[in-house]
Symmetry: C2
Subunit: 301 residues, 2 copies
């Protein structure tokens, strides 16, 4: 089974195991809409590939950890799309949750997905308390205060924000939790996997900034030009587009190099490179890198 | 130290232990505004009094459990007050979080408080994994799907809702989690404490309906007439005001009678009766009960 198929199957299994039979039907429908809508599932794939690299001796716990992190990601998308933030009508080519179900259910669906992420971990891990507690601590750090994705989003509401801190929190934190979860679910030390998550996560955020400026965002099913519109910190506006593209490629290289020696090193490195290409096609990068590469010798001559 | 003082001190300690030093300052301010604003702290007081009844051999864990449940309650208030739901300007006599900090930070503060509730439990309980896991399962059930307070709120978005199921979920679920948490934190069986939480929680919801109609809600620092305005299920509209008052008093009696034999039985029963009086003063009840009590013999004569 491919990583993507395993991530998708696990998510469906975890969701059904937590949802119960007596919940309000429209809330459940809104949550399903948020979760099962063709996401790339990069976070759970990261978790699963690191778990495999670490032996994956408790695959049900790895699956639950992968699912929990994707549920957190989906929760954040539901709330970020709401009128208070991006006011986005479209996500992954379909109506956003608040457009399809209204704002009250979007708000509640996000809340319920956050709690469900913990429920999924508890359902799968209560017999392995040490691993479970490590996973919950790591996931909480990836989402909550002081430096998780909720804090990252909140930096947009501050009069001043450090671009690096903002990006590490807004996207990097949940990527770090995702790589660490694979190790923790397998009873391994999470530390060697932090750099992979952090650099890949920051690369995602920089890619998002680049795509937003290049107008590529529509390919991912969401509107372009949002950073400028919402005056958000952006690598593209801080470094220029060429600088942002260079920075993105450096981050990808750091992620690739950080993968510890293990039987799955090739698989993980390929996963990172494939994602890099999907996010910012190298052809698009080259177009923006060439002018500065050509002009550099002229300036120094 | 009184129960209220212990609840308040614990909440401040738990909050500071989880908030960290590098979080966005306005987000932290919004969370403080939501949590430290003179709430009655009935849920944490319930947790602490049940913990004492069960021996309270791990007071730091009891304190954390009490705090976590209050954080969940505060999170739900922040989101419920937002324009998508009650659109309330005032809570406990002060501006609501979205009025004071804007909608984006209100949305994020609620999310961060949900995660913080888990962080508080993890910080205090990681050395007692069995109790910690029980507490997390119980708290998750009180908040999430299928029958927690988020589900309760979502029943307002359904075309049809059973009044009992709605009230049990919307308010009762977190009260059940609060009484059970006291037992679980002390290593005791939670089951004997379910009825106390469930009946007191339902009484709170019925009291809210009664107050909303009687116009007493302003005493609690929020606007009256919200149920009718938002066409929500309400005991007062389903049973009539007299019937709702009778039902409220039956629920309080059930709660009082349910307290298991223990050294703290009197204290707990007094807590319940004091809350009953605070919520719906017996003088107000009497005014609504007398006519039906007087007319009954006439009808049967």
């Amino acid at each position: 089974m491919s990583l993507l198929a395993r991530a998708e199957t696990s998510l469906a299994f975890s969701f059904e195991g937590a949802v119960g039979h007596s919940a309000p039907p429209r809330l459940v429908a809104a949550m399903r809409h948020a979760v099962f809508s063709g996401g790339a599932r990069i976070r759970p794939q990261l978790t699963l590939s690191v778990a495999i690299a670490c032996g994956d001796d408790q695959p049900a716990l790895s699956n639950a950890a992968a699912s929990a992190l994707e549920l957190m990601h989906c929760a954040s998308l539901v709330h970020d799309d709401m009128p208070a933030f991006d006011d986005a009508d479209i996500r992954r080519g379909r109506p956003t949750v608040h457009k399809a179900f209204g704002e009250p259910l979007a708000l509640l669906a996000g809340d319920a997905l956050i709690v469900m992420a913990y429920q999924v971990l508890l359902n799968a891990g209560h017999a392995l308390p040490e691993r479970l507690i490590g996973l919950m601590q790591s996931m909480s750090a990836g989402v909550g205060l002081p430096n998780g994705i909720v804090a990252g989003q909140a930096w947009e509401c501050e009069p001043r924000a450090d671009l690096g801190q903002y990006q590490r929190a807004k996207t990097g934190a949940l990527f770090v939790a995702s790589t660490c979860a694979g190790a923790l679910a397998s009873g391994s030390d999470a530390q060697p996997w932090v750099t992979l998550g952090a650099s890949l996560g920051e690369a995602y955020q920089v890619a998002d900034d680049i795509r937003d400026v290049m107008g590529l965002s529509a390919d991912l099913g969401k509107p372009a030009g949002q950073d400028l519109l919402h005056t958000r910190p952006s690598a593209a506006s801080e470094l220029g587009l060429g600088g942002a593209v260079d920075y993105f490629q450096d981050l990808i290289q750091t992620a690739v190099d950080s993968v510890p020696a293990c039987t799955c090193r090739d698989m993980l490195q390929q996963l990172v490179r494939r994602e890099s290409e999907r996010l910012v096609p190298s052809a698009a990068c080259a177009a923006y890198r060439l002018p500065s590469a050509r002009s550099a010798p002229v300036v120094s001559a």
